[in-house]
């Protein structure tokens, strides 16, 4: 059951071979056993999960089950969940029990999913390794001395170690795709605006997007279908007809043109990653796809542009954390300014503080044009690069991450080193395009390698289709770390 795909779980639940309560209990027990070592979960809500499972069982019995009714899942701790701690991996919100549900959480609740708990993450979604968490790093289940990636590290670990069959995450610069690659699971970030951001604590508003983790593209498709949809409470949410992302999963790939940007296949990629990626591309060709060279000339500017725009927006989004209405307030302070300064200095970790300072600076008087405006112009160039590339291909492919998972502590002293690990994913957020990462093999030390697929706007179905066909012909996505088989 633990390793069964969603389709199998659905069948078993509907056939009453297993109850939702039993299924939830299976995963909850696994979490209890494994979480101390992996630190994937910040909060485990056994009582809530069992209550939801009982409701799901009632719906199943009444014949009212939907595709996800009774399916256990985990939510990244950046999503507001009413009555359950939402910490965003931060001391600032270590006491924040949200009075409302995020839209995505409400959708999944209504779909009958069973929330097991809230997963670990880099604080306020700022990070690429899950080391920036107030609750300590999450560990890569393939090698617990290594990072799982970030910022949605906990969700990726939960799925990789089968502590949950599916999990939600958020992706602002690669925070779903990169941890998926480093932990050997599938993760997708849809087009900007497809999922509602209401209740998803904001990091960089014009880049943030909710995403889905699963053991396979098929499972991701089921989860994404339930998460997507217009929300009138989010002005950036898109009004589009609902889409079933599972509909075209089985379409043959003959004729699919895969663009390979020369900028993504340069010297930055580690050899073992290159080998796995090349082999995966060969597999795609066997499935009928063709590859074509394309270019994203401004790709290398994505990182500096991102590290202006994201911190700028974050510096403003995080101003509400001031100790007045919720969250951490310093125990001792003098006047009002002192209360603000101490509460925020104590509540935020080092990386968050750094990004707030960078963001405050680039927006400040006299620097706006040279930094923020310039970065938004680069953003347009990058988006146009993709637009041009998509006239020559249907999807773009390349490595998700330049290396496999690195050791805990190895890059945490040098923020810029850390930032450079997002080199292949970041441009996708700047353009607002959909992106997916699926397991493509293993590198040195048996560490997972992910292949990234990037689609044109609203091409989520096509990305999932390509990954699904790949997964039907290969078995990388079925491998489990020995300790969690």
């Amino acid at each position: 059951m633990i390793n069964a795909p969603l389709s199998e779980l659905r069948r078993a639940l509907d056939a009453r071979e297993i109850s939702a309560v039993e299924l939830a209990t299976l995963f909850l027990d696994r979490i209890d056993a494994a979480n101390p070592a992996l630190n994937a979960f910040i909060t485990v809500d056994r009582d809530g999960a069992l209550a939801a499972a009982r409701e799901a069982d009632a719906r199943i019995a009444a014949g009212n089950a939907g595709p996800l009714t009774g399916i256990p899942l985990a939510h990244k701790d950046v999503f507001c969940t009413a009555g359950v701690l939402t910490s965003c991996g931060s001391k600032m919100l270590a006491n924040f029990v949200s009075p409302y549900d995020a839209h995505v959480v409400a959708l999944l609740k209504n779909a009958g999913t069973v929330m097991l708990g809230k997963t670990n993450m880099d604080e306020f979604a700022m990070g690429s390794s899950n080391e920036n968490s107030h609750y300590g790093p999450a560990k890569n289940p393939w090698d617990s001395t290594r990072i799982p990636g970030g910022s949605s590290g906990g969700s990726a670990v939960a799925v990789a170690a089968r502590l949950a069959p599916i999990a939600t995450g958020t992706d602002t610069g690669g925070s779903v795709r990169q941890p998926a690659a480093l932990t050997g699971v599938t993760g997708i970030k849809p087009t900007y605006g497809v999922c509602s951001r209401y209740g998803m604590v904001a990091y960089a508003s014009s880049l943030d997007q909710a995403g889905a983790f699963g053991a396979s593209a098929a499972d991701c498709a089921a989860l994404l279908s339930a998460m997507a949809g217009f929300d009138e409470r989010d002005s950036t949410s898109l009004e589009r007809p609902a889409e079933d992302y599972s509909r075209d999963l089985d379409k043959p790939l003959a004729g699919l043109r895969i663009g390979l940007p020369r900028e993504f296949f340069g010297p930055g990629m580690a050899d073992d990653v290159r080998a796995a990626v090349d082999a995966a591309l060969a597999e795609y060709r066997k499935l009928g796809a063709t590859t074509v060279d394309v270019s994203l000339p401004n790709a290398q500017l994505a990182i500096p542009a991102y590290y202006v725009i994201a911190p700028a927006e974050a510096s403003s989004n995080l101003s509400r954390f001031d100790g007045v209405r919720y969250g951490h307030r310093a125990a001792e302070y003098g006047d009002l300014a002192d209360m603000y300064e101490k509460s925020r200095a104590q509540g935020f970790g080092a990386e968050v503080k750094r990004r707030i300072l960078v963001g405050t600076y680039v927006l400040s008087h006299g620097y706006y044009d040279a930094y923020y405006l310039k970065a938004q112009k680069l953003r347009r160039l990058i988006a146009e690069d993709f637009r041009a590339a998509f006239t020559q291909c249907d999807v773009i492919a390349g490595p998700t991450s330049p290396t496999t998972a690195w050791a805990i502590g190895e890059k945490s002293d040098d923020p810029v080193q850390m930032y450079l690990s997002d080199i292949y994913t970041i441009a996708v957020n700047l353009a607002g395009l959909p992106g997916l990462s699926h397991p493509a093999g293993f590198g040195a030390g048996g560490l997972p390698v992910g292949l990234q697929l990037i689609g044109d706007y609203f091409a989520e179905g096509r990305l999932l289709n390509a990954a699904h066909r790949f997964q039907q012909a290969t078995d990388w996505h079925t491998r489990r770390p020995a300790a969690f088989a």
Binding site: P99, G199, A202, S205, T236, D322, V324, L336, L363
Partner: protein, 489 residues
Amino acid sequence: MSRSDWEVVIGLEIHAQLNTASKIFSGASTAFGAEPNRQASAVDIALPGVLPVLNRGAVERAIRFGLAIGATVAPKSVFARKNYFYPDLPKGYQISQFELPVVQGGAITIRVGEGEKAYEKTVNLTRAHLEEDAGKSLHEDFHGMSGIDLNRAGTPLLEIVSEPDMRSSAEAVAYARALHALVRWIDICDGNMQEGSFRCDANVSVRRPGGPLGTRREIKNLNSFRFLQQAIDYEVQWQIDTLEDGGRIQQATVLFDPDSGETRMMRSKEDAHDYRYFPDPDLLPLVISPEWIARVQGELPELPGAMKARFVDELGLSAYDATTLTASKEMAGYFQATVDAAGAALAKPCANWVMGDLAGRLNKAELEIADSPVTPAQLAGLVRRIADNTISNNIARKVFEALWNGEGGAGADAADRIIDAQGLKQVTDSGAIEAIVDEVLAANPKSVEEFRAGKEKAFNALVGQVMKASRGKANPAQVNDILRHKLGS
């Protein structure tokens, strides 16, 4: 050097709370007077994860205002974040508009002064933009702490910025009054200054005539026209005194203390003013179609300026009367209805009755003109009866009282019914009047003697007696003539 060697330069920034039912970015109520924080939604208190959604009604009101002042309504405008920390600003930024406001340009005509010294002036506006109001910090002391109420946070504001066109506190007040009347006229703001619906900030500087602009200081949050005038007067004098003493004016934000009548600097740090404006990524650009603008234009009521011009040109009223009557849409509407019923030829007497007796009575009874017991049709009926000599002006006052008290029924003919019922018809029969005059002359020989001796006052006493004898119904003009005639003068 005297005060007249200085030119005063004033610009006003006025924050008008728009009278929408809900807030500009959330669905909470904007109703005044609720218990603290009972009208502050998740969005208003800036919980983690919440997002703004723009209220159509706020935009509609901004369009209405732009059209009413002849401004350009921007087809595309952008919301920007104004970042600063303050407990009544939950997000740590205010959603406002910066580079691209919804209304650009525009002008309003003001009337300054009284009587012969009165003059008109056009004041140009720079822009008007939409933004959200902040919450309130209560002055009450909670054992050394301040209490924050966020009910007001998120109320839609239209910030209206004038060019620095005003040259005196009188002009500034006239402008503020005109704007106040206009926003109420077009029903975008209730104008209740005690409740904070209409707040003025004044930018004041002085300079030598023909010289460069002086450094300005901003007086914040003036919520009455009287305070506006007092604050500006004090500030101007303070700036002149400072400069004449050899000092320099530093840009500052000041508050007016009504008790002392003085302005003083706010204790906020200089760098609080780096607002780090950038377009709000949670909101997309506001696009206003020509169709929307055309529809709002079509729904605009006749504006005070146009109505005033019509009253002067077509009805022959004085500029002063026209201004007074168009001070509020309700009064103008009442007057218009009265003239419609009485006929344009009687515009002036209608105006006098509306501005005089009716306004006075309403004031005393603390009633709005909309609640007047006397309807325009009824007032028109009264005015017609004076015009056609059925009753005299004095009797008319009696009839008006009766109308006020609901006598004569609800119809337009109420005045007639009262006149008939109380037999108030004017006596215009000369014979009858002569008879009364003869009686009075006979009964008051002393007054006759005094008059003949040159005391004009005695004449008035005799007139009074005639009026009394006729129970007020004798036509006063005729009484005058006949008396004079009989007294041989």
